[in-house]
C-alpha cells in the first residue's frame, strides 16, 4: 500500500519500531476533521454548562430559603402608638420604626426639604400619611440600629459611626450615604392597622 502524504515518519521521539510504525504517525483523514471537531466542541460545551449548573445550584442554596421569605409581612395596631411617640416592630429580622409625628415635626420635616441633603428626597415622598413615618431602623452605613430622638437634627442618631438623621429619616451628617429606607406598607382596616410588606398604596 502506498503511504499517504500526510504521514510524517519518525517524529515520535521513540526509538522502537512500534512507535515509529507508519500508523503511529498518521494524522488522520482530513475529511473527517469537521465531524471530530463537532463532537469534541459540543462535548466541551456540555461539560462547561454542566459545571455552570453545578456552581449555580450551590450558590442558589445559599440564598434566602422559602420559610425565611414566607415571614414577609406583619400587621401593626396603630392605636397603641400615641402622638409624638414611636414604636419599634421586628420585621424580616430587622427593626422598623413607626413614628406618630406631631404637627410640629411634620412642619420641621417639610421645612428641611429646602436644606442641603445628601440624598435629596421630599418629606411627602417618604410618607403616605404625614403623621405616620415608617422607616427601616437600619443605618445605611453599616446596618446598626439608630437611636430615636437623638442627634443634631431631632431625628435619629447611629451610635456605631455617628450618622445623624432628621425627622424624616434623611441622612444629614456622618458616614451613611443614604436616607433611612422606607419599607413597603399599606394602611388596612379603616386605617387602624398598618401592614408591613406587600405593596405600598398611596
Amino acid at each position: 500500500m502506498e503511504t499517504p502524504d500526510y504521514v510524517t515518519p519518525l517524529e515520535t521521539g521513540y526509538k522502537d519500531d512500534y512507535h515509529n510504525a507508519p500508523h503511529f504517525n498518521t494524522r488522520g483523514d482530513p475529511t473527517k476533521r469537521a465531524f471530530t471537531y463537532l463532537v469534541l466542541g459540543s462535548s466541551k460545551f456540555i461539560a462547561a454548562s454542566a459545571a455552570r449548573v453545578l456552581i449555580l445550584k450551590l450558590i442558589y442554596t445559599m440564598s434566602a430559603s422559602a420559610d425565611v421569605l414566607a415571614k414577609g409581612s406583619v400587621e401593626v395596631e396603630l392605636g397603641s402608638i400615641p402622638l409624638g411617640e414611636s414604636a419599634t416592630i421586628k420585621w424580616r429580622g430587622k427593626p422598623v420604626f413607626i413614628r406618630h409625628r406631631t404637627p410640629d415635626e411634620i412642619t420641621l420635616a417639610a421645612k428641611d426639604d429646602q436644606a442641603e441633603l445628601r440624598d435629596p428626597q421630599l418629606d411627602s415622598e417618604r410618607s403616605v400619611k404625614p403623621e405616620w413615618l415608617v422607616l427601616l431602623g437600619v443605618c445605611t452605613h453599616l446596618g446598626c440600629v439608630p437611636i430615636a430622638n437623638a442627634g443634631d437634627y431631632h431625628g435619629w442618631f447611629c451610635p456605631c459611626h455617628g450618622s445623624h438623621y432628621d425627622v424624616s429619616g434623611r441622612i444629614r451628617k456622618g458616614p451613611a450615604p443614604l436616607n433611612l429606607e422606607v419599607p413597603t406598607y399599606s394602611f388596612i382596616e379603616d386605617d387602624t392597622k398598618l401592614l408591613l410588606g406587600g405593596e405600598t398604596q398611596r
Binding site: 445559599m62 434566602a64 421586628k90 429580622g93 430587622k94 453599616l142 440600629v145 456605631c160
Partner: protein, 382 residues
C-alpha cells in the same frame, strides 16, 4: 535504610529533620514554628468544641454556656480556643514584622511572602466568623457591620449581602453557614501553610544578615528543633497566663449578652487584632472608599516584594529604613488604639493622619528609599 529516608516519609526528613538551616537565625525566627503550633491548637480544641456546640440562633448562646458550665473541662477548651485566636494573631504579627525588619519578603522569597499574606487574609476571615458563633451582642453586630461592607459594592452590593446572609438580616441561616465555613477554613489555612513551608524550603530560609547563607548551615534537628521547643515552652507560659488568670481580658463583656437584633450596643468594637484595619475603615469618610482602603491595607503587604527598591534585605545595613520601620510599627499601634476609640475628635483626625501615613509608607516612602540609599552609598566615593 531507615523508614524516614523512604519516599513519602522523606518529606518529613527533608523539611523538619535534615533541612539545612542557616546557623545565625535567632529567636525572631521561632514564630513560624509557633504559628504552626497555634494552628494545631486551634484545630484540636475547635474539633472538640464542635462536639458540644449548636449552631442555631436559639441555642448557640446557651450551648456555649453549656460548654462553660456543664461540659467536663469545657471552660478550658473554650478559653484555650478563644485566647488561642489572640495568641495566633500575636505570633503571626510578630512573624510578619520580623519579615519586614529583615527583608524576608525580598527576592527570591516573594512567593513565600505572597502565600503568607493569603494565609493572613484566611486567618482574618476565619477569626471573624468564629467570633460570630457564640451569638452574643458583639457577634451579631460585628457580623452585621462587616457583612454590610459588601453592600458598598455598586449595583449588586445589596443582592450579594442578602445572599451572604441567606435572608433579610444576619440570622439563623448566616450562623449556620458561618459555622460550616469556620470548620472548613482552618484546613485551607493548613494546606496554604504547607505551601508556604515548601516554597520557603525551595529557596532556603533567610537570616538576620539578609545574605545568602548556603555556605553555613546546620541540620534543623536537633539544633533548631530544640530552639523551637524552648520557644514553645515560653509561649505556653505566656498563653497560660491568659487562659488561667485572665481569660476574658482580650474579649468584650458585651459578648456575654445574647444577640438581640433590635438593640445595637452603644459602641461596636471588633477583636483587638482587627483594630488597626477597623481604624482605617472608619477614617475614610466615604463608604466604598473606606472598604477599599481597609482591604488594600492588607493587600499592599503582598506587593512589598515589588515595592522593595534595593538589593539589601536586612535592615541591619539600612539605618534609614530601620527608623522608618519603627515608625510603621508605631503607626500600626496608633491605628490599633484609634480603632478601639469612639468616632469623635481628636480620635478622627489622629486616625486619618495615621491612615495616610500607613499608605504613604508603603506606596511612596519605600519605593523612593532605595534611590536615596544608593545615592548616599556612593556619595563622594568617586
Amino acid at each position: 535504610m531507615r523508614l524516614i529516608k523512604k519516599p513519602l516519609f522523606n518529606i518529613v526528613n527533608n523539611h523538619l529533620i535534615d533541612y539545612p538551616t542557616p546557623i545565625n537565625i535567632h529567636y525572631a525566627w521561632n514564630f513560624g514554628f509557633l504559628s504552626a503550633m497555634c494552628l494545631i491548637i486551634q484545630i484540636v480544641t475547635g474539633i472538640f468544641l464542635a462536639m458540644h456546640y449548636t449552631p442555631h440562633v436559639d441555642l448557640a448562646f446557651i450551648s456555649v454556656e453549656h460548654i462553660m458550665r456543664d461540659v467536663n473541662f469545657g471552660w478550658l477548651l473554650r478559653y484555650i480556643h478563644a485566647n488561642g485566636a489572640s495568641m495566633f494573631f500575636i505570633v503571626v504579627y510578630i512573624h510578619i514584622f520580623r519579615g519586614l525588619y529583615y527583608g524576608s519578603y525580598a527576592a527570591p522569597r516573594q512567593f513565600v511572602w505572597v502565600i503568607g499574606v493569603i494565609i493572613l487574609l484566611l486567618m482574618i476571615i476565619t477569626a471573624f466568623i468564629g467570633y460570630v458563633l457564640p451569638w452574643g451582642q458583639m457577634s451579631l453586630w460585628g457580623a452585621t457591620v462587616i457583612t454590610n461592607l459588601v453592600s458598598a459594592v455598586p449595583l449588586v452590593g445589596d443582592s450579594i449581602v442578602a445572599w451572604l446572609w441567606g435572608g433579610f438580616s444576619v440570622d439563623n441561616a448566616t450562623l449556620n453557614r458561618f459555622f460550616s465555613l469556620h470548620y472548613l477554613l482552618p484546613f485551607v489555612i493548613a494546606a496554604a501553610s504547607l505551601v508556604h513551608l515548601a516554597a520557603l524550603h525551595q529557596e532556603g530560609s533567610g537570616n538576620p544578615l539578609g545574605i545568602d547563607a548556603s555556605s553555613d548551615k546546620v541540620p534543623m534537628y536537633p539544633y533548631f528543633i530544640v530552639k523551637d521547643l524552648l520557644g514553645i515552652v515560653a509561649f505556653i507560659i505566656f498563653f497560660s497566663f491568659f487562659v488561667y488568670f485572665s481569660p476574658n481580658l482580650l474579649g468584650h463583656p458585651d459578648n456575654y449578652i445574647e444577640a438581640n437584633p433590635m438593640v445595637t450596643p452603644a459602641h461596636i468594637v471588633p477583636e483587638w487584632y482587627f483594630l488597626p484595619f477597623y481604624a482605617i475603615l472608619r477614617s475614610i469618610p466615604h463608604k466604598l472608599g473606606g472598604v477599599i482602603c481597609m482591604i488594600f491595607a492588607i493587600v499592599v503587604l503582598a506587593l512589598l516584594p515589588w515595592i522593595h527598591s534595593t538589593e539589601i534585605r536586612s535592615s541591619r545595613f539600612r539605618p534609614i529604613y530601620r527608623g522608618l520601620y519603627w515608625s510603621m510599627a508605631a503607626c500600626c499601634l496608633i491605628l490599633g488604639w484609634i480603632g478601639g476609640m469612639p468616632v469623635e475628635d481628636p480620635y478622627i483626625i489622629i486616625g486619618q493622619i495615621a491612615s495616610v501615613y500607613y499608605f504613604l509608607y508603603f506606596l511612596v516612602i519605600l519605593p523612593l528609599l532605595g534611590s536615596l540609599e544608593k545615592f548616599l552609598l556612593s556619595y563622594k566615593i568617586n
